[in-house]
Point group: C2
């Protein structure tokens, strides 16, 4: 805590040190040299003066330079059984006067909402409830929610529900703070303008009632942009909740099938963020830190979260699904969902999520067992996991060691596995995990897709640039990329 005294090095030793730094880090850590295209700028051995000059000057062409830094941001997280009842005091502590409570019609009737409302009432805080959140929000449902929030002009928000609720609350908050903004201003490019969020938003406390999305920790909000026929969203650090209250009592009422599909979302969050391209391979390097994306590629801090979440999911998800009384496993899955949220919220996801959006929206009529709804539904976690075996077979070549470590998390003894077999071994472990979990479609055919649907799924995946740009091993040339996506979907037909 208390620092050691800082010794002032002499100018000469500082110069020597800087020179050593530059020599050591060339490549890859000296920011001005990370792009090999730049080497022709100084074919001679660079001198210290060159480097100092370059470090001082604006880099020559940032759009072609690779990233050199990463930024980790996450909501504060409070975790404990019963913690929901503290939420009224949290709003009193932040001196909130008008709270907009956001939920959906189902959650509105459940205990977490009861606790939240009792807490606000006990503290004498004025609030209003918006309970019309659409599960799997569309731009129209989001706009309806925003239209509710703007005239009420709350000074704080409380979201109680799954990811749809929390995501919608983030967007209500955003457009209440920017009431004049056009809806597309902040929507991810290229579908929207992708403008950064230039002001802090109002406090948002999120109380998740599912163990899956991790939305309580992230600055991401996902919805269907019906006007453009694509699933997209808004992603910026300023959208992240102030506080996520993770109360394992709140996920007790999830049916087994919901535990399973939410948990598969956690599995893919952790696996995709763990295997995403490294942050320092991403281009372009932002010229202003406000433009550094939340989805920035794998980095040494997201790695810790992602791997821990993966290990927990492998251990506890089967227990949480099979035994509705296994409160320990359910609690651990809620924690894993949050950890994975911090991981992918800062590193991103890639191919499984990119392909999941058209898989869900082009559903040929599949209705997942255990979901008590009137219409066909491929739960998000199911649509994500169905391509996972093929995806990680494909991505393994980019980083066999990481894929072997992931296979090891599934309990595979990898001590004698060759690095070139990493993808096969991880794909096999994933297929087995899905099979053992039970009631999971083992391939797109089980969802009703046919070979002739693949082209349309490929076309539906292509607009997901924000996640595809983080896919390791994916060809950057359009036709080659389409071939690769086609191959992944074909291999996902059945297994």
């Amino acid at each position: 805590m208390v620092p050691a005294i800082r010794i002032h090095a002499s100018a000469a030793s500082r110069a020597r040190n800087l020179l050593r730094t530059v020599q050591y880090t060339h490549p890859p850590s000296c920011p001005c040299h990370s792009n090999p295209n730049h080497h022709h700028h100084h074919p001679r051995t660079p001198t210290l003066a060159d480097h100092v000059r370059r470090h001082m000057a604006t880099p020559p062409d940032p759009s072609r330079e690779k990233e050199y830094a990463f930024e980790m941001a996450a909501s504060s997280i409070r975790f404990g059984p019963g913690a929901t009842k503290e939420v009224g005091m949290d709003f009193a502590n932040m001196k909130a006067k008008r709270v907009c409570v956001v939920t959906d019609t189902n959650v509105a009737k459940l205990d977490p909402m009861k606790q939240a409302i009792e807490g606000l009432t006990r503290e004498g805080i004025e609030f209003t409830v918006f309970d019309k959140v659409r599960v799997e929000p569309k731009d129209s449902s989001v706009k309806e929610a925003i239209a509710f929030a703007k005239p009420y002009n709350p000074d704080a928000f409380l979201a109680v529900g799954g990811g749809s609720v929390i995501d919608t609350a983030k967007l209500m908050n955003l457009y209440t703070v920017f009431p004049e903004a056009d809806f597309l201003d902040f929507v991810n490019a290229p579908l929207g303008k992708g403008l950064p969020v230039t002001k802090p938003l109002r406090p948002l406390v999120a109380v998740p009632t599912t163990a899956g999305t991790g939305s309580e920790t992230t600055g991401t909000a996902i919805f269907d942009l019906v006007s453009k026929g694509a699933k997209t969203g808004i992603a910026h650090r300023n959208l992240k909740p102030t506080l996520g209250i993770c109360d394992p009592l709140n996920t007790r009422t999830m049916p087994s099938a919901v535990h399973a599909s939410s948990g598969l979302d956690v599995l893919c969050h952790s696996l995709e963020s763990w295997t995403a391209i490294p942050y320092n391979e991403r281009t372009p390097r932002p010229t202003n830190p406000i433009n550094r994306p939340a989805y920035q590629g794998a980095n040494p801090i997201s790695d810790i979260f992602s791997l821990q979440a993966l290990r927990s999911t492998v251990k506890y998800l089967p227990r949480a699904v099979k035994d509705p009384e296994d409160f320990e496993a359910q609690s651990e899955m809620l924690l894993a969902a949050t950890l994975a949220g911090v991981g992918f919220g800062n590193a991103g996801v890639h191919l499984c999520h990119g392909m999941s959006y058209p898989i869900s929206s082009q559903n040929p009529g599949y209705k997942h067992a255990g979901y008590d709804v009137q219409h066909p539904i491929i739960p998000h976690g199911v649509s994500v996991a169905v391509t996972a075996p093929a995806v990680f077979r494909f991505t393994a070549a980019s980083n066999p060691d990481r894929h072997l470590a992931a296979a090891e998390a599934f309990g595979v003894d990898v001590s004698n596995v060759k690095r070139e077999s990493a993808g096969e071994v991880l794909g096999e472990a994933l297929s087995k995990f899905l099979y053992d979990l039970g009631d999971q479609p083992l391939g797109l055919k089980n969802l009703g897709f046919k070979s002739e649907d693949i082209e349309s799924l490929v076309e539906g995946t292509l607009p997901q640039r924000r996640v595809l740009m983080l896919a390791p091993n994916l060809n950057s040339e359009l036709e080659a990329e389409k071939d690769e996506l086609r191959g992944l979907l074909e291999q996902s037909l059945e297994y």
Copy 2:
């Protein structure tokens, strides 16, 4: 990201679920039963109605109940070589108009300050520099810094330096936002009033120039309260910086001896937070979440940070100390310091830190090799590490598995070690690590302390309640506690 549909369970199944929860978690997770002293409240088997009533009502005597939740809060962290040059844009992005830059006279002359000043100037932001931070701050030096900040009334702060600088900037921020507060209002109890910080502070960006304190991620500020003759501080989540910019180019100028002692601070942050009492063994349970301390005991999220930081420190600290050109090791140590900061910033430290304060302040005249200062000095990291072998021999009985895992992080093959030998094995591994690191005092005698000094060191340790309360295995009865501290200090005389 996108949630699975939330299914509305029937009232009957919800009741069954709640009942199962309660049965499963009794003990330890049902908040109203975590204290065994409460069991006499309902000797009969509790019914669902009992539980619902108890969950709704205020717990009977919170001061005797154990904690049931933990809260993780950390600054956003940006990490990358050269990232310091982005800091001007950060202040422009937050629309800061008057920035108070805080540093010390040594760091004022170094490159990180040059980068920071250039960045602010480039963005045309008005700023003023306070460069009089005292290394190892005293209340008088902190008050001087606050007196500088108040009339300037900045809308944001930038700290460039080691932990002393960052800690002082936190306090300047606090008392600028609470200009009427008495200095002791926020100082840790029992020396001060320990009031919670009830308003958000102004943005503070911290740029560490040492790899040790982790202050860039924490809400803690430490200083000597000379009027009370004790080292103490102020700790609240609201003090934490908005953003820590960890730029490994900024630690390049640390001399080898500073690398070593800063790194020993990281080592003890990680080991102490990893072995602190679990959060749900801490009493009292706060009646308002604002009173939940930052130092709350080990929890499943701090654990991840602490163990990773420990592993990195064991691997990279010896390299960073021995080879001033090993930029990879230095970068990894900066990252480890930050990770350990998140770990101990939310879990706390205990005996090594508690005893380090009197060891440093009662220095009999020791001047650590490699420190180019005129006066005797026991660097903070040295004063912390010198008792570590004795401390972890003592604490091991509280949780042998954790101590074995720590020994494993030092490379010890623990597969055949008995649990009752965990302390011995970890203590031995620590002694060897300190010996191999070189130039470390192997015991208090090397610092000039004699047996007759121990009583005074014990007396100097006792006021450190905030950390002692997290020490596992320490007797809560005063005379027994003194005996135990005496024993630890005696065993630390030489090894």
